[in-house]
């Protein structure tokens, strides 16, 4: 497979046209604020009358209700709809934001509010280009490196994150969302790179970066974000297959926990500490991901 093909595939699969969206997938009717993913199809309706239907090979159909906020359309397209289309096509969505360093991708995961986007904005100020914000789409072939697709979402920050990072502010994301779009200071990656490391963001009194090893890696990768729900609905792995997926991912990347206080006064020093650890990834093609065999 050529390097650019997953990008092209997802661009084609998420191409939008406007029209009428069905009320149901098979026997499953989908009302406001509901969605269904069945086989190769995804159907979703918002409470404001937006509806989206994706079918593999046929792209996305959008139906605009009279009450719909046009800004919401893009948010859903880049959120649930994109993650569903990616999952149906075998890609693995991770709830993470990511930067590029030394020709590789380092990602940061954590629940909403953990500081992923703020961290990406600050690392951008320090010269690290953004790969993605909020959702990292991975290509996970049976062997070889895990590949990170370039992001499909724009960077979104809260007012306090703009204050902390000095990022350039753009328009408000939507009337209902108190965030604005931001320009990543070191630019955005537009090509596929190998994923080498994942940092779990956690809050704690003392800033520290700690390696996560062994079985703890599998636990760390059990993500409860909605994108994982879509992936599991699309691929329906049994327990052994799910274990193998997590083991494949854990076996290919290095995992760390980045603990720090949520305190504006120590923010810069905390990122200094993280950056010291990021330096080990700077030698392009030098920092190999883990190499090991699984016995599955």
């Amino acid at each position: 497979m050529v390097a650019g093909s997953p990008i092209t595939l997802l661009q084609r699969e998420t191409a939008v046209r406007y029209g009428t969206v069905p009320d149901a997938l098979g026997a499953i009717s989908v009302g406001p604020e509901q969605y269904a993913l069945v086989g190769d199809e995804f159907l979703m309706r918002t409470k404001d009358g937006l509806a989206f239907h994706y079918r593999k090979g046929q792209g996305v159909t959008v139906e605009l209700g009279a009450q719909a906020d046009p800004a919401d359309e893009g948010l859903y397209l880049n959120g649930s709809v994109y993650a569903a289309a990616a999952s149906i096509n075998g890609f693995y969505p991770l709830h993470a934001s990511a930067i590029a360093i030394g020709g590789q991708v380092v990602a940061f995961t954590g629940p909403a509010g953990a500081g992923k986007s703020t961290l990406i904005a600050e690392l951008g100020r320090r010269g690290y280009p953004m790969v993605c914000d909020d959702t990292l789409i991975l290509s996970t072939p049976a062997a070889g490196p895990i590949r990170a697709l370039p992001g499909h979402k724009r960077l979104k920050l809260t007012a306090s994150a703009f204050e902390l990072t000095g990022a350039a502010q753009q328009e408000r994301v939507a009337q209902t969302i108190e965030k604005h779009y931001a320009i990543p200071a070191a630019g955005t990656i537009t090509h596929i790179l190998p994923l080498t490391a994942l940092f779990l963001l956690a809050e704690g009194r003392q800033a520290a970066v700690e390696p996560v090893r062994g079985g703890a890696c599998l636990r760390a990768l059990q993500d409860d974000h909605y994108t994982q729900g879509l992936f599991l609905a699309a691929n329906r792995p049994d327990r052994a297959e799910r274990f193998a997926q997590l083991a494949r991912l854990a076996g290919a990347i290095r995992i760390y926990r980045f603990v720090r206080p949520h305190d504006a006064r120590t923010f810069s020093a905390n990122i200094d500490l993280l950056e010291e650890h990021l330096h080990e990834f700077e030698g392009a093609d030098a920092a190999p991901a883990k190499t090991r065999e699984t016995s599955l």
Binding site: G214, G215, R239, F243, R292
Partner: protein, 84 residues
């Protein structure tokens, strides 16, 4: 004594991670716990297992037996091991 049929395992960072398929629970084994797990191969009863581990680690059987009893009990509770 033998391992149950319904589990999968993988090696990560020198640990063997075993998942029991019915419950989805998984366990990380390393060091002596991993050695014991590997020695539960269907050819040994518990006294033979104690003897084999004692020989490998050069420890008196009487000293090891309670720990192995407890570990095997954990493995049985997790449905990873069956038989006596």
């Amino acid at each position: 004594m033998k391992r149950a049929d319904r589990f999968v395992e993988t090696e990560i960072d020198g640990e063997t991670v075993v998942m029991e398929l019915e419950s989805g629970d998984f366990f990380s084994l390393s060091g002596s716990a991993l050695s014991i797990w590997q020695m539960i191969d269907g050819t040994r009863d518990k006294p033979s297992l104690v003897a084999a581990v004692a020989a490998e680690y050069r420890v008196a059987e009487a000293e090891l037996a309670p720990e192995i009893d407890a570990f095997v009990a954990d493995l049985k509770a997790a449905k990873l091991v069956e038989g006596g």
